[in-house]
């Protein structure tokens, strides 16, 4: 699967604001399978927006997005379930459910991982003790780890990470990177990650400035 952006621009931004962008208002930006992309920009430059446009959760943009050279806006939702997974910057977790329930809520939909696999992942990110605790008690860093594990509970061709390590210490970042690398390899998937600056955790095939 590949994703192509053509003349994309958020409706809330003026042309002058996106003038220097490698993505916005470019004739064609192609994200290919099994490649890793870093989208870099300062705050407020539309990093989250570009991921939301691709994910189909925000359609307030000008231009076109093609999935496998086709533009089917109505099918964005099925892409979301089967081809694109997304770690949201604001996690979009459910505080009234426990850690395990939050992950199962997603996994029940896809049946992608077994309960043992999920628990193994939780243990790897050092949250095994807390798996039955309500998420409302979790710190931001803990929530970030849960959100990443949850995103891995589905098949995907593209994994979107929106500033995924902003609240984590180096030890946890390393653990998560190794998990993510394994999963990307297993699924033969691409990575689209946003960041405020340069990060060296992955060997990116391309770095794009927004």
């Amino acid at each position: 699967m590949q994703i192509e952006l053509k003349n994309i621009k958020p409706q809330y931004m003026s042309e002058a604001e996106v003038k220097a962008s490698d993505i916005y208002l470019q004739k064609s930006v192609v994200f290919e399978k099994r490649k890793k992309y870093l989208i870099k920009a300062n705050s407020g430059n539309g990093k989250t927006s570009i991921l939301n446009f691709i994910y189909g959760s925000n359609l307030k943009f000008d231009g076109e997005i093609f999935y496998n050279k086709e533009r089917k806006e109505k099918e964005v939702f099925t892409y979301r379930k089967e081809h694109i997974s997304y770690v949201f910057q604001d996690f979009k977790l459910f505080p009234s459910l426990t850690l395990l329930e939050n992950i199962q809520l997603k996994n029940r939909l896809t049946n992608y991982k077994t309960e043992e696999e999920i628990i193994a992942l939780i243990n790897r990110v050092q949250l095994g003790e807390k798996k039955n605790d309500l998420l409302e008690k979790f710190s931001l860093g803990q929530k970030q780890r849960v959100a990443i594990i949850r995103a891995l509970c589905q098949p995907f061709d593209f994994l979107l990470l929106d500033e995924p390590f902003s609240h984590l210490d180096n030890e946890n970042i390393e653990i998560l990177i190794s998990i993510l690398k394994e999963e990307l390899e297993k699924q033969q998937a691409s990575l689209l990650m946003t960041s405020l600056g340069t990060v060296s955790c992955f060997e990116f095939d391309r770095v794009l400035n927004l």
Binding site: S57, F77, L97
Partner: protein, 393 residues
């Protein structure tokens, strides 16, 4: 998991409020609906109590009409107008006596001595409510059968006889008494034998056979004194039609009100049923509006959670399913309970009605009605919930 998450979004007090108002509204609605079905044939069809309802009308007698008697007679045009009304099946006019009649007993009679002036009227036999064996007149015989209103006998027995210390008389006793009639008119006079052969509860007049009166009018009345119609007997095909009362009121006709009491009664019954039906319908509609308001509140309060569900891959149908099932289950349960309640109410009123009247039990439509309302409500709820959730996510 989804269930656990969505269960927490419900506002229990509002669901209970919805269930309670719907239960009250539907119980009344179904009961009233069934009551109408049960009682309607009793009042409109040919059952014992209101079979072939008829009434006698006349024109109101006012001071003005006392002076000008012509005004109390029905004109040919007015009779024709009556015949054209759809709620009237038959119109029959009364024949009057245009001669003088005296009843008296002779010394040899077994009747107490009396002499009185009388009048007769007649109508065709088919309009009579009784058919006594002796109700025949033959020109060759000197006998005239008479039918008097049943309430005359009551008036005599319970009023006159009581106050004058006279014996009370049974129908049988009276029917055995023979008396004389003297008819005078057109410069001639003739005596007849007569007996009361029946008592009518329908016609409030002293009746003789129609053939006799036609014959006697020819023989004893002045030729210029033709039959003037001052009373008309009407038979209704739809005795419960509220138009009946309205029509006579507009025409200023006097109607034997007692006879048409049922018509008023039915009119009030029908109005009351419609009134209660509308009220219960409003309660049901309010309960539906109430659950929609509650649903809107749930959606607004939990918008972020619903959006997050959509963001992690749940479809709007999957998200809506819980609310659809929840409202459907509550509605099914409430309507079923309302059906049971209505059936209980029905059994209670059927016992009461059966005690008072002899009537044929109608089919129970409560559960059919309940089922139809259920299908309608579930259709509305499921469509609207899906739309609302889709709009949010």
């Amino acid at each position: 998991m989804l269930l656990k998450l969505q269960k927490k979004t419900l506002i229990k007090s509002q669901i209970i409020g919805y269930a309670f108002t719907l239960l009250i509204g539907m119980s009344i609605l179904l009961t009233v609906f069934q009551l109408y079905i049960d009682v309607n044939p009793l009042l409109t069809e040919q059952t014992d109590i209101f079979k072939k309802q008829s009434a006698i009308i006349s024109k109101k007698i006012s001071l003005f009409k006392t002076l000008n008697k012509e005004k109390i007679y029905f004109k040919e045009k007015e009779i024709e107008e009556l015949k054209k009304l759809d709620f009237i099946e038959n119109v029959s006019v009364f024949q009057n006596t245009n001669f003088k009649v005296q009843a008296f007993t002779s010394g040899s009679s077994n009747f107490p001595m009396f002499q009185t002036d009388l009048f007769f009227e007649s109508i065709p036999d088919i309009y009579l409510d009784i058919n006594p064996e002796e109700w025949k007149w033959n020109a060759s015989e000197n006998f005239i059968p008479i039918i008097i209103p049943e309430n005359y006998l009551n008036l005599y027995n319970f009023g006159f006889a009581e106050s004058q210390g006279l014996p009370v008389l049974s129908k049988n006793t009276i029917s055995n008494l023979t008396f004389n009639l003297q008819i005078t008119g057109n410069y001639t006079s003739q005596n007849f034998k007569s007996r009361i052969v029946g008592f009518s509860s329908k016609i409030n007049s002293i009746l003789v056979p129609n053939d006799f009166l036609i014959w006697a009018n020819k023989k004893f009345s002045d030729s210029n004194n033709s039959n003037k119609i001052n009373r008309v007997l009407l038979e209704f095909n739809k005795p419960a039609d509220e138009q009946i009362l309205n029509f006579f009121k507009s025409k200023d006709y006097e109607i034997n009100k007692e006879k048409l009491e049922f018509s008023k009664l039915f009119f009030f019954f029908k109005s009351a049923i419609i009134f209660v039906f509308i009220i219960s319908l409003i309660i049901v509609i309010l309960s539906i509006a109430f659950i929609f308001l509650s649903l809107n509140l749930i959606i607004q309060r939990n918008k972020e959670m619903l959006l997050n569900l959509a963001n992690i891959g749940y479809t709007y149908q999957q998200i809506a399913k819980f609310y659809q099932i929840m409202i459907s289950v509550v509605t099914v349960f409430v309507l079923f309970f309302a059906g049971i309640l209505s059936t209980t109410f029905r059994n209670m009123y059927l016992v009461k009605i059966s005690e008072l009247l002899n009537f044929k039990r109608q089919e129970n439509f409560i559960f059919i009605g309940m089922f139809l309302v259920l299908i309608l409500l579930l259709g509305i709820y499921n469509t609207i919930i899906i739309r609302k959730i889709k709009k949010v996510v």
